[in-house]
Subunit: 403 residues, 2 copies
């Protein structure tokens, strides 16, 4: 039952929904996904503010001021930032004002300090001032009622600052999706164990942990378990509640098609058990109670690619992201890309901005040494079914791993 | 004492060094910076492994096998993954073997299950096998002694998998740099406080918190404090030990040049107090004991840019990163860019891959509404001093915020 990648992905996306939203103290909100639109509850700035240190004046009164013919005014007040003026300005008067302080009533311009000369309570204004300049008007930046941020926005530096500016001390964000990760295989041992004949260490758990983090999830490592249907079911049933469970291994269709048996034993109907892609053809998925269970290949090359193209978008949907799919671009191959396949291929690569276009270098190690490729990969090169050997200079489709 | 941006940055970089390294459990290592080279302590795979389910054979014995003229062999053993064979293969013999299991002695090829037919202890081989295929040889992926990862590498999915594969249960990583962030200004109130006349909320703290996270640091929010030299010194002296302290506000050269006074009172000699760039000209920095203290402007537009171009590389050096500076690319302006300046300008923008080149769109809000720009910015457009108004279609230099 092999199905097309797009169909498989759509089945997976249709089977999940956003996590519950939760209130979170702003100090802990960086990189979380907003679960509500944020609307300005007031104008910003909340009052007309001075943009610099200087003198608030009636601009018409100083429109002919020059260093040689200064206009002399009476300083009647002094407004540091955070204070408010006690007196309105009338003819012949000025108020000393600091950056960020509210413009006093009656003033229509701010002369910068460098263009003034102060002597006692008298101040000589040495230059005219444009009324529009040096003042940030109430609501200049944001008007009350304006939508500042949309649901689904990942909270970056700008968004964090905006939330603070508008007093959003506990915004509504989505809970991070919990993802249980279990490696199956009688050859797999824990990372701190000494190697024994026929054994290898559990690297998939940690590779996928990082991929889950990068997709905005909260990974929960469930360790490794030998090829035994009942034991695998026991571990999954005893695991903490998760939105998604990922297993690796036992997904092939041989003697040890253990995950098929695990699905049967847990009463899960598989949506599919093969996807037409390479690597990563062996992947099965089904709904298990309130969770999604996805069984990936035990081969790190296959598991890492299946995760990126199938599981990552699903995880972003659960996490509440507004964008689910990675950006696709066109790039020029820097080196030949050998091999052909009747199914779509994905090759880890490194993408750089060349002089006139993107350039993509396929990374050499695509089999067991895949982890070495994955260390420097920032893209997956996508090769259409039946494509002949590609020479350097060919144009290819590339999925960027980072925005 | 205004100095060039590059000089200021070099002064800052010269004044700091890497954080101490620490052992960290692998499960907590994602996104940390490696503090040692990692060398393969063994070959990988550690033994010759089967890449699929099938039969281990002497390949010469089956070189003429076809479905019509199969070669019949005696199955003498069965090796699931994680086990080792009990018997070497000799003439006329085969061993059933599973993916990942060690190749038995005497075998020189693996025939895939689909090309065999089993009856009792007899197995009919229906196809020849290439000895090089279907077997992953000891050391094929990594040879003992090979450098797997270099000091300074940020631990991504590939690196995490490699560390696990080679049993690095507690690699040496750099401690995350601690960065204290304090907002000064009598107009600044906490985010949960109600607005009062002349007051605005402390958004710089949260904007910079996110920028510090993005640079790999551990931000410590020190809140807000009014324009009072002694109080500012008190807060800094009572703050937790940090590698770097960042203040905002009081950096201008007016009546309230508070940070200059703070430096004097703390016995800090400023390396510089102005940098020729716009925005962000007002920035001062000095060594305070074992820490670096950097005073940024209170204007979020200036503070965010100063952070990116001056502080971020310093933070990356403290964090142990191998690359300190952001990548620079050329892009084509999508819209006109007004205004000229005798100093270098930085404008928040959004950069996208166009059909044949990068395209950069300057973001409209560059003053107080900067946070709105920063929400969608992924780049800083860099404009050389004295550049006239730039029309759409002009080529500009762009600093990408993400790799």
């Amino acid at each position: 039952m092999a199905i097309e990648l797009e169909t498989a992905r759509q089945h997976l996306l249709d089977s999940v929904q956003c996590c519950d939203p939760e209130r979170c103290k702003l100090v802990n909100c960086w990189d979380r996904i907003l679960a509500e639109d944020i609307v300005a509850d007031s104008d910003y700035p909340p009052f007309d503010r001075s943009l610099l240190d200087g003198y608030a004046v009636i601009s018409m009164e100083v429109e002919r001021a020059t260093p040689k013919q200064p206009v002399v005014l009476e300083q009647i007040d002094y407004i540091p930032a955070g204070s408010i003026g006690r007196h309105a300005i009338t003819q012949g008067q000025a108020v000393r004002i600091m950056t960020g302080a509210p413009i006093p009533a009656g003033a229509s311009g701010i002369v910068r300090l460098e263009d003034t000369k102060c002597a006692g309570t008298q101040v000589a204004i040495l230059a005219a001032v444009n009324p529009a300049k040096n003042i940030s008007r109430r609501g200049d930046d944001f008007a009350q009622g304006e939508v500042l941020l949309r649901r689904g926005k990942r909270l970056n530096a700008g968004a964090m600052g905006l939330l603070a500016m508008f007093g959003q001390a506990e915004p509504l964000v989505y809970r991070r999706p919990r993802v249980g990760i279990l490696s199956t295989g009688s050859e797999i041992i824990g990372i701190a164990q000494a190697l024994a004949p026929g054994k290898i260490r559990n690297s998939n758990n940690f590779m996928l942990q990082a991929q889950v983090f990068e997709a905005g999830g909260e990974p929960i490592l469930l360790g490794e378990i030998k090829d035994d249907t009942k034991l695998i079911c026991d571990v999954l049933q005893a695991a903490p509640a998760c939105d998604l469970y990922i297993t690796t291994g036992g997904a092939s269709v041989g003697d040890y098609d253990l995950m098929g048996q695990v699905f049967d034993r847990l009463g899960i109907k598989a949506m599919f058990n093969r996807v037409t892609m390479k690597p990563g053809m062996q992947v099965l998925a089904g709904i298990w109670g309130h969770s999604l269970l996805v069984g990936l290949s035990g081969n790190p090359a296959a598991a890492s690619v299946s995760f990126e193209v199938l599981v990552q978008p699903v995880l972003r949907k659960i996490a509440g992201h507004d964008k689910l799919l990675r950006p696709m671009i066109k790039a020029v191959l820097k080196t030949d890309l050998r091999g052909t396949s009747t199914t779509r291929r994905f090759v880890w690569g490194r993408c750089n901005q060349g002089l006139s276009s993107w350039e993509a270098t396929p990374l050499a190690y695509q089999r067991g040494g895949i982890l070495k490729s994955l260390v420097s990969a920032n893209a997956l090169i996508v090769i259409a079914p039946g494509t002949p050997k590609l020479l350097a200079g060919s144009e290819v489709d590339v999925m960027l791993l980072r925005e």
